[in-house]
């Protein structure tokens, strides 16, 4: 067992001759959470897809648990390393009910107690049982995202690759999902790589952060340094400045809100 759960070295990915990931490297210890932030279109999702085994054309080295993985992964790999996609709509089969989507991954991996596990997975992500027999298009955006998270968790993976897992959730459900992820990490020593545009979300769950711009990881920093402003790359500084600005709450109420009855 290596205490380095994930190692990515000199990762390069091209689409029809255009290189969009230009030599990215980072390491994640077992039980740690590594955050990736950065410019839209900079290659964050592309890095996660190569790690997850979904995209087989990349160069460089990807190691899980000290072992370099081949381009084509085993079934066992796909159970241990799960990904939550940025576009939940696109990753859920449109003609399958939520029940079918969740049971399929259990069947494929020969995991029993299907009924109990599905019920638990749904309640873990705060979805009502009524969602179980609906189709993806009959759910709201945030409900679909929660199905995607439930599907990633249900087969008890070791590593989760999370691409904007909470961006479609209201902050109350987001809090529940972030607490759940923290609990699972604590109880089962899960390792996460999480992409998000929200520095508050990243700093809550991650110890270290990589910042991407235009295919490169331009800076890696601890969350403490990010918080304190001890960061050197202009893109990191700009992202931090905008995030701090938004958190700045106007102190004085300018007028009184009209709460409706029931308040």
């Amino acid at each position: 067992m290596s205490d380095r759960m994930i190692e990515v070295a000199d990762l390069r990915i091209s689409f029809s001759s255009a290189e969009v990931v230009k030599g990215v490297a980072f390491e994640v210890a077992r039980g740690e959470t590594f955050g990736i932030v950065g410019e839209s279109g900079s290659g964050k999702s592309t890095v996660l897809r190569a790690m997850s085994g979904l995209n087989e054309s990349w160069d460089g080295r990807i190691l899980f648990n000290g072992e370099a993985v081949p381009k084509r992964r085993s079934r066992e790999f796909f159970r241990k390393v799960q990904m939550v996609f940025q576009d939940p709509f696109g990753s859920l089969h449109p003609r399958q009910t939520i029940d079918r989507i969740l049971s399929e991954i259990l069947l494929v991996n020969r995991i029993g107690e299907i009924d109990r596990r599905i019920n638990k997975a749904l309640s873990d992500v705060a979805l009502p049982q009524t969602a179980r027999f609906r189709y993806p298009h009959q759910l709201s955006g945030g409900q679909r995202q929660r199905v995607a998270i439930a599907r990633a968790l249900i087969a008890e993976p070791k590593v989760l690759l999370l691409d904007e897992p909470t961006s479609a959730l209201d902050v109350s459900v987001q809090a529940e999902v972030l607490n759940l992820l923290a609990d699972l990490r604590e109880e089962h020593g899960l390792t996460y790589v999480m992409v998000s545009h929200n520095l508050a979300v990243i700093s809550h769950l991650c110890a270290r952060v990589g910042v991407m711009q235009n295919g490169l990881m331009v800076e890696q920093t601890s969350v403490e340094d990010l918080r304190a402003g001890n960061v050197s790359h202009p893109h990191t500084q700009e992202l931090r400045r905008l995030s701090v600005e938004l958190e700045d709450v106007p102190a004085e109420p300018s007028s009184v809100s009209q709460a409706k009855p029931g308040a």
Partner: protein, 279 residues
Amino acid sequence: MLVDIQNLRIAFTSRGKRFEAVRGISLTLGREKLGIVGESGSGKSLTARALMKLLPKTAQVSADTLRYDDVDVLKASERQMRRIRGGRVGFVLQDPKYSLNPVKTIGSQIDEAWREHKRGSARQAKQATLDLLDQVLIRDPKKVYASYPHEVSGGMGQRAMIAMALAPNPELLIADEPTSALDATVQAEILRLINDLVEKRGMGLILISHDLPLVSHFCDRVCVMYSGQIMEEMAASDLMNARHPYTRGLLNCMPSLMHPRDRLPVLAREDIWLEETAR
């Protein structure tokens, strides 16, 4: 008044049981920036879709009033609505990539939206599209123009949708989570662009978002939704001082970069918030 909605109700029947997803929503909009925030599944997207008559056939809709400007949406024909959508009203849907046509290039789709309204030549349309892509901060507009939706990133797809919605110079922009996939620098720029259109051209905006600080900074007014109803409505700048316990609970759940906490508080949802207040 651009939009007048009174007592909107939307229900679905599934397995013999009727479920009311929107329960008596009333709201009006002028040439202003209205934010809608609230619980996931509370009916925000359905409300926006109802206004554009884009609900699934299985939805049962009723309202005392559902007007867009001079159009009675409940009575309007599909032809009438098609002229409004993608013309007088721009609509950025929540799942941008799945609202784009997967077999057409992004450029050709924005061209079409532009020509719907402007009736220019193909060359003029292409130039206008490239300008729009540039305005939404796409690094390489020519490349994205020729790309198919699956070839661009989440945030690039979102920006393509915004460009498409803005192409015909709409009077109203309905944007459902338009910036959730954008980094803070691009988001700031897009909001500046939208703000310009509101201020210079008097465009109206309905912005649906889970980002409370963003709505509070950017919008004029905000409605907070919970379980199919509007819980409270206030000046957006007062959002951080809201009084309804649901809204207070939401504000309390937010993680923060500058003020870290070990564990996030979770919201204790109260039954009284479910009671119907519209009737």
